[in-house]
């Protein structure tokens, strides 16, 4: 492995102000624009509908220019169901945050232990951990429901935190494992000789070096927990219900209130989007550059 000399690279390809675009470049951009537009269109509908008045929502042909109104958000937050969306938003935040923290924390420990110590049947354990995700979650819903009921955890935050943690754990272990294996072992040996214990090496050397892996798995775990519907709807009714559960119940209980419905949808996207964008900034590649050689 060699370190990348950024200065030399910049010199070799001088930044020219005149970039000539060929036909293939235009074709590439066109395809990209079409794809992005296709993907973002539903989100555009959610956002625009949430900001429209009732008459604009049902106008045909659809109105593209309209007077922005925040009424739908007001209704969603404070009017519906007496309490509005807020408790469910908070439930989702608590459950997503804790299960992500637990999954990434425990998962990185598992991955580190299995990559650094000679464990009998280590690779089988890795395979077993991944195999817990082979079957569709719906196959486990009934047994898990019974277990949760017996434990007296129905409709509690803890139930969902535990289930999501165990579901995301396998993902975290598998992704982080590759990051740990990429750390040159000499760095940890140097730390051993410098006087650090295994736990200190894990905390002060190994974890900082797999930061990109921790961030990637945090984002993935958070998205999966945030959007999970099936298990949430079975395990919770009210106290611990998450946003997807609330959203699904929306149409049923109140007819089709499209405006507030879309407002809740927009609010459901926002936290996870902010979380991802913030973390992504720290997703620097090549953190181990310059460690060896």
């Amino acid at each position: 492995m060699t370190s990348v000399d950024f200065d030399a690279g910049a010199e070799a390809t001088p930044r020219s102000s005149k970039v000539v675009l060929g036909f293939s470049d235009y074709a590439r951009y066109l395809i990209a624009v079409v794809f992005v537009g296709f993907s973002l269109f539903p989100f555009y509908i959610v956002l625009s509908t949430s900001l429209k008045s009732e008459s604009d929502i049902f106008a045909w042909p659809p109105v593209w220019l309209f007077d922005v109104t925040w009424d739908n958000y007001f209704s969603a937050l404070f009017v519906f169901g007496g309490t509005g969306v807020l408790p469910f938003l908070i439930n989702s935040l608590i459950i997503t945050a804790l299960s992500t923290l637990l999954a990434v924390g425990l998962g990185s420990m598992v991955a580190y232990g299995l990559t650094r110590f000679r464990v009998v049947g280590g690779s089988h354990i890795f395979f077993f951990i991944l195999s817990t995700r082979f079957a569709p979650p719906v196959a486990f819903v009934v047994p898990i429901f019974l277990m949760i009921r017996e434990a007296g955890l129905l409709d509690t935050h803890l139930a969902l935190i535990l289930i999501y943690t165990s579901m995301n754990l396998s993902l975290v272990v598998w992704i982080i494992r590759g990051f740990f294996e990429a750390i040159p072992i000499e760095i940890e040996e140097a730390a051993q000789i410098d006087g650090y214990s295994r736990l200190q090496i894990f905390r002060k050397v190994a974890l900082p070096l797999v930061k990109p892996g921790l961030i990637t798995t945090s984002i993935l775990s958070a998205i999966l927990s945030w959007n999970e519907f099936l298990i949430a709807t079975v395990m919770t009714q009210n106290t611990a219900a998450t946003l997807p559960v609330y959203l699904a119940g929306f149409s049923g209980s109140m007819g089709l209130e499209w405006g507030p419905f879309m407002a809740v949808g927009a609010m459901a996207v926002l936290p996870i989007m902010i979380f991802t964008l913030v973390l992504q900034r720290h997703l620097v590649r090549g953190l181990t550059f310059g460690a060896v050689r």
Binding site: S3, E189, A190, A191, D194, Q200, V205, G290, A291, V292
Partner: protein, 360 residues
């Protein structure tokens, strides 16, 4: 500063590879010992066993009389320099150097003072706030050396520290390593495959191959009194000329078309242990005119190395290498006579042992 003793140390890897066999070695307090050997000879494994990074299969490693087998690496009070530097990429140079002190909960002001002092010694003061990735190879190894030198450990272990560096940096850094060793007075265990480097930095050199220690001694010992053919052929630049077609009779040894009278000491040893091969160091040949007495040779190639040149010759006894001063070089293809110095003959028996040391 510590005296280290390895007693009958073996290392067998789980796959059955015998990396180190029956190793007995003593490193004196304050000594700079180099281990020299081809790659895969077990020298790195030996160092890693002393460091505590590799378990010992059997045997004892004593430091100042105390067995340290089983002691974790972090409690062995050692410092190590790795071939690939092994700096912490997420920390800047200052924090890299400070790591051993931080682990021992040294007070902040003292850490700052000591890091700055050692950075001054190593000439890396202006890089203290940089990440290792921004440094050149030579600078990285200086940081790694500074990290090792920040404490006064019982011993320094260096695993081919200059292996990845360019020639001019190697020469510069090995002088500094030697100076640092003398300044700290520590015991240093240094691994290299470069014999010139070994000769430049060390007090004594241990030669290993196939997991077995061959000989420990000064460079002069290894050149003039190699215990066996491996040491004779591995050590010495340009390499020794080895002749396998050897006949001894009446106190004379026959090399191709020429006979040399054996000195009395060698002559006595010949009877006890009949030699099958004879080695002559390039410097022990004198090159004479074609008319003179000596082993007939044709100078095939003349390789100038500064003030001296290695003359690669063909002789009736086999290929030979001789040294000639730059001022009196034979032309390529010239017929010459090679005259070996009888005192410089190295005779080896059928087991490859030097017949002089074989008796001991």
């Amino acid at each position: 500063m510590a005296q280290v003793q390895l007693q009958d140390v073996h290392k067998i890897y789980p796959d059955g590879t015998k990396a180190v066999r029956a190793l007995n070695l003593e490193i004196q307090s304050g000594e700079f010992l180099c281990v020299l050997g081809p790659s895969g000879c077990g020298k790195s494994t030996t160092l890693r066993m002393i460091a505590g990074l590799e378990e010992v299969s059997s045997g004892i490693i004593e430091v100042d009389g105390q067995d340290i087998v089983g002691t974790p690496a972090r409690e062995r009070d050692i410092a190590m320099v790795f071939e690939n530097y092994a700096l912490y990429p997420h920390l800047n140079v200052f924090d890299n150097i400070a790591m051993p002190l931080v682990a021992r909960r040294t007070a902040k002001p003292e850490i700052r003072e000591r890091v700055e002092r050692i950075a001054g010694t190593m000439g890396i003061c202006e890089h203290l706030t940089k990440r290792p990735s921004k440094l050149s190879g030579g600078q990285r190894q200086r940081v790694s050396l500074a990290r090792a030198m920040i404490r006064s450990p019982k011993m320094f272990l260096m695993d081919e520290p200059l292996g990845h560096l360019e020639e001019y940096l190697r020469i510069e850094l090995r002088r500094e390593i030697r100076a640092l060793h003398e300044a700290t007075g520590g015991t240093t265990f240094y691994i290299t495959h470069d014999q010139e480097e070994a000769a430049a930095v060390s007090d004594r050199i241990a030669v290993m191959t196939d997991g077995v220690l061959q000989q420990v001694g000064t460079m002069a010992d290894l050149i003039d009194r190699p215990v066996n053919r491996f040491v004779a052929e591995f050590v010495g630049e340009p390499p020794i000329s080895m002749f396998n077609d050897v006949a001894v009779a009446n106190g004379q040894i026959r090399l191709g078309d020429y006979s040399v009278a054996l000195p009395p000491a060698l002559n006595r040893a010949v009877d006890a242990s009949p030699p099958v091969s004879v080695g002559v160091r390039p410097g022990k040949f004198s090159i004479d005119d074609a008319e003179a007495e000596g082993l007939s040779a044709i100078a095939q190639s003349v390789q100038l190395m500064g003030e001296w040149a290695a003359i690669l010759c063909d002789t009736p006894a086999g290929p030979a290498t001789a040294l000639a001063a730059k001022s009196e070089l034979p032309s390529e293809g010239a017929r010459v006579k090679l005259n070996p110095d009888p005192e410089g003959l190295l005779l080896f028996n059928k087991n490859g042992r030097n017949i002089v040391s074989a008796e001991v």
